[in-house]
Symmetry: C2
DNA sequence: CCAAAGTTGGAATTGACATTCCAACGATGC
DNA sequence: GCATCGTTGGAATGTCAATTCCAACTTTGG
């Protein structure tokens, strides 16, 4: 039975630490060079471990990729909290999007989105990665949806607004805008894309 | 001097045909498996050519990738013409987006966008590919921008509307929506994303 | 303390891939 | 018709990746 299939593998303290170090190194490398562009020897060197350790903890490269997907999802959610929990005003939405835009600029518009890049690469090539990435987007979209729903429940948004569709549209604008910005090396596209969708949400405001 | 650096390489009739066959086979493979996931032997088998032919016409793998980027750009523009040339009404915008949505469904939401997938994979790994992809998005966005500008010039769109930003937002919605749909295996996200942006354009209509 | 189980290092295996080379074949223009 | 240059086949080369194996070492629970 492969490690990644076991329900609960017993890990000692140093084991947990090593595993974590491998995932973090792999996540960084795969963010910069893609999953396919990251070799096991690369991860070994970056994490300072031997091959047997990687195979011991993840079974094979696919197992490592899956662990990286989960790790990046947790990291993304954690990074954007508490903003994500309070997306129930136009100002909060703009602040959240602006933060990502500023981070884009700070990185020179390189790298794109940690989740989106993996998604584009893996969606059609690894069924379980696709499932994990779908879950990642769902976890990411949920707070947006919930924030918009609260605005609507409070009567701030018109009852005719489809808040679920708006949440999806906003997430899509983030992804598409980041891709265009990454290619153009300018955050303008990202900012225009998200701004348009937020403007559209704003047009549903009551009063 | 490598072939891809030469200004004009003389090609005989069979040479042109072989070159074209290689690019088409490579484009198809790279669409399905990514540029990194497509090997020269793969292309050889799919196009029915020998290795020396590929290196003769493209110099190296990067040269082939560049040729594929250009080929896919031309193909995308050609495929969406004449729709792209007449995006100067809300109905035309919806029809154009619906067409892409229907194609998405027809493919079972697999594959995503031929340009976007390459962009995500190559933007940070190949400077000349990034330039080519930026040009691809510009060529794609230009007709959208121009259609919106015509609507505004005719007085159908409010003078306060930023048509360039709207065009970018629409392209971003297409890209982001396709990515979400590819991961979720449902065209809903794509349709919600583009529909939101078109609704937003519609809100700028005069009268 | 001591067995069982988790952890680690390092070498060996196997296969694929990008690229090069060279010799042969074919079209083309003068 | 012949020399030139484009075209093609196929083998050879060197590198590197994924994975396996096994022996040695360490932690842990009783």
């Amino acid at each position: 039975m492969k490690p990644e299939q076991q329900q609960k593998r017993r890990l000692t303290a140093p084991g947990r630490k090593t595993r974590e170090r491998i995932v973090e190194a792999a996540a960084e490398l795969m963010f910069r060079h893609g999953a396919g562009g990251t070799s096991i020897p690369d991860v070994q060197a970056a994490a300072g471990v031997s091959a047997s350790q990687i195979y011991h903890y993840f079974g094979d490269k696919q197992g490592l990729v899956l662990a990286v997907v989960d790790h990046q999802t947790d990291a993304k959610i954690a990074q954007q909290r508490p903003l994500l929990d309070n997306l129930d005003s136009i100002e909060a939405l703009r602040e959240w999007c602006d933060g990502a835009g500023d981070r884009l600029d700070a990185a020179g518009c390189e790298g794109g989105c940690e989740i989106g890049s993996l998604a584009s690469e893996l969606a059609d090539r690894d069924q379980s990665a696709r499932t994990g990435l779908a879950a990642a987007f769902d976890r990411w979209e949920a707070p947006i949806r919930s924030g918009l729903a609260r605005m609507q429940a409070r009567g701030e948004l018109s009852p005719s607004a489809d808040t679920d569709a708006l949440a999806t549209a906003l997430l899509a604008a983030v992804q598409g805008g980041m891709l265009l910005s990454q290619v153009r090396r300018s955050s303008t596209a990202y900012r225009q894309a998200v701004s348009s969708v937020i403007d559209h949400v704003e047009s549903h405001l009551v009063r």
